[in-house]
Symmetry: C2
Subunit: 215 residues, 2 copies
C-alpha cells in the first residue's frame, strides 16, 4: 500500500536531496554559515544551482533539513506504535519526547551549530510545523473522524507546543525574550521536561476528544 517498489526516478531524487542536505550542512559547518554560497552547495552535490532550488527554497531550509528530515515520519510512527490502550495524550507526548531526545547520530554538533546561528535557529523552530501533517493522520486514525478537523487542530497545537518548548529550551542561548514581561522566569530545565510541560496543557483536549468516541 505504501511502497510499490520506488523506481529509479524516485531513488535518484532522494539521493540528490540527500546529497544537497549533507553538502549544505557540511560546508556550512566547515567554512561558516555566510561563507557558503548556494553555488558551492550545488557544486558539492553535483547539480546545477538551479536544481538545488528545485529542492529547497532557501539555504537555511537545506541545512536544517539535514537534521530534521525524517523526524516527521518518525513521530507519526512512534505514536502509531503505542498500544491502542494508552491515553492518546500520553502516546503523543511520549512519542514526541522520544523523537526529540535522541537527536540522531552525529547530530549533536550539528544541532549545536544550528541552534547557535539566529537564522538557522529560526528555520529549525519553523521546521516543527512539519510534524503537523503526519501527526494529523495518526491522531485522526485514533479518533476515527469525530468532527472532521479536530485532529488537525490537535496536531497543530502539538506542533506549536513543541515549538514553544524548543524556544524555551534555547532561551539561554537565545537573544531577545520579547514582550513577555511575565513575572518570574523558569530556569529552563532539560528538553524532555520542557516538552512534557508544554504538552501538558493540551492533555485535557486530547482526553475530551478521545472520550467523545469511546466513552
Amino acid at each position: 500500500m505504501t511502497t510499490p517498489p520506488p523506481g529509479l526516478r524516485e531513488r535518484k531524487k532522494q539521493a540528490t536531496r540527500e546529497a544537497l542536505r549533507a553538502a549544505a550542512l557540511r560546508l556550512a559547518m566547515e567554512h561558516g554559515l555566510d561563507r557558503v554560497r548556494v553555488e558551492d552547495i550545488a557544486d558539492a552535490a553535483g547539480v546545477s544551482p538551479r536544481t538545488y532550488n528545485n529542492y529547497f527554497a532557501s539555504r537555511e531550509q537545506a541545512i536544517v533539513s539535514a537534521v530534521t528530515a525524517d523526524r516527521e515520519a518518525r513521530i507519526a510512527a512512534a505514536v502509531a506504535a503505542r498500544p491502542a490502550g494508552v491515553r492518546l495524550a500520553d502516546a503523543v507526548t511520549e512519542a514526541v519526547v522520544e523523537q526529540y531526545t535522541d537527536a540522531g547520530e552525529g547530530g549533536h554538533e550539528a544541532l549545536l551549530f544550528i541552534t547557535t546561528r539566529p537564522a538557522l535557529r529560526h528555520a529549525f523552530l519553523d521546521s516543527t510545523a512539519g510534524i503537523e501533517p503526519p501527526l494529523t493522520a495518526v491522531i485522526a486514525e485514533r479518533l476515527d473522524d469525530t468532527g472532521a478537523h479536530t485532529a488537525r487542530v490537535l496536531a497543530a497545537s502539538v506542533a506549536s507546543a513543541v515549538r514553544i518548548a524548543l524556544e524555551g529550551w534555547l532561551r539561554p542561548a537565545g537573544a531577545a525574550a520579547g514582550a513577555d514581561a511575565g513575572g518570574l522566569v523558569v530556569p529552563s530545565g532539560s528538553l524532555p521536561d520542557q516538552l512534557r510541560a508544554a504538552l501538558l496543557p493540551l492533555a485535557p483536549a486530547f482526553d475530551a476528544a478521545e472520550r467523545r468516541i469511546q466513552g
Copy 2:
C-alpha cells in the same frame, strides 16, 4: 502606562508604514499582483525602495498587512473586554469570531483579492501567527501565572486553530487539499461556524487551565 505621548519620530514611522501598506494594496489591486514592483510601492509612498524594506520583508507582507494590521491588538482587547465571569474558552472564541467577521471597512474586496492569489493567501494565513503574542498576554493575565508557558501554548493553539478554520473556509477557492485523505468532506460552512468548530476541541484545555487556579 502604555502611551507617553508618542512623539514626532514614532508618528512619522507609523505614517510611513501606513502609506506603504496602503500603496502596496492599492497598486496590487489596480495593476495586478505581479505587475507591481517594490520600486512602485516605495515610490507611491514617497520613500526609497531600501526604506520600504526596512518596514516589510516581502511584498506579500506589506499587502496583507493592510488588511490584517491591527487584528492582533483588537483580538486581545476583545478578550480583555469580556467580563471576568465567563468561561475563558468562550471569551476567546467569541472575541476571535467577532474580529474575523467584520473584516473592516472596504476590506471585503481587498480580502477577496488576497484570498484569490495563492502567494497572498499564504501570507494571509501566516499572519494568524501574529495574534499569538497579544493573546498570550491576556490569557496569562486571566490565568495569573499557572505553569509559566501554559498561556503561550494555549495562545499558539488558538492561532493554529484560526489558521485551520481559515484554510477550511477558503477550501473551495483553494487548490491542493494535500494528503488529508480522510473520508467524508465537510461542505465548509460560514466563517464563524468554521472558527467555532476549530476552537471547540481546545475548550477542554482552557477549562482545565482555568479550573487549576480558581476551582
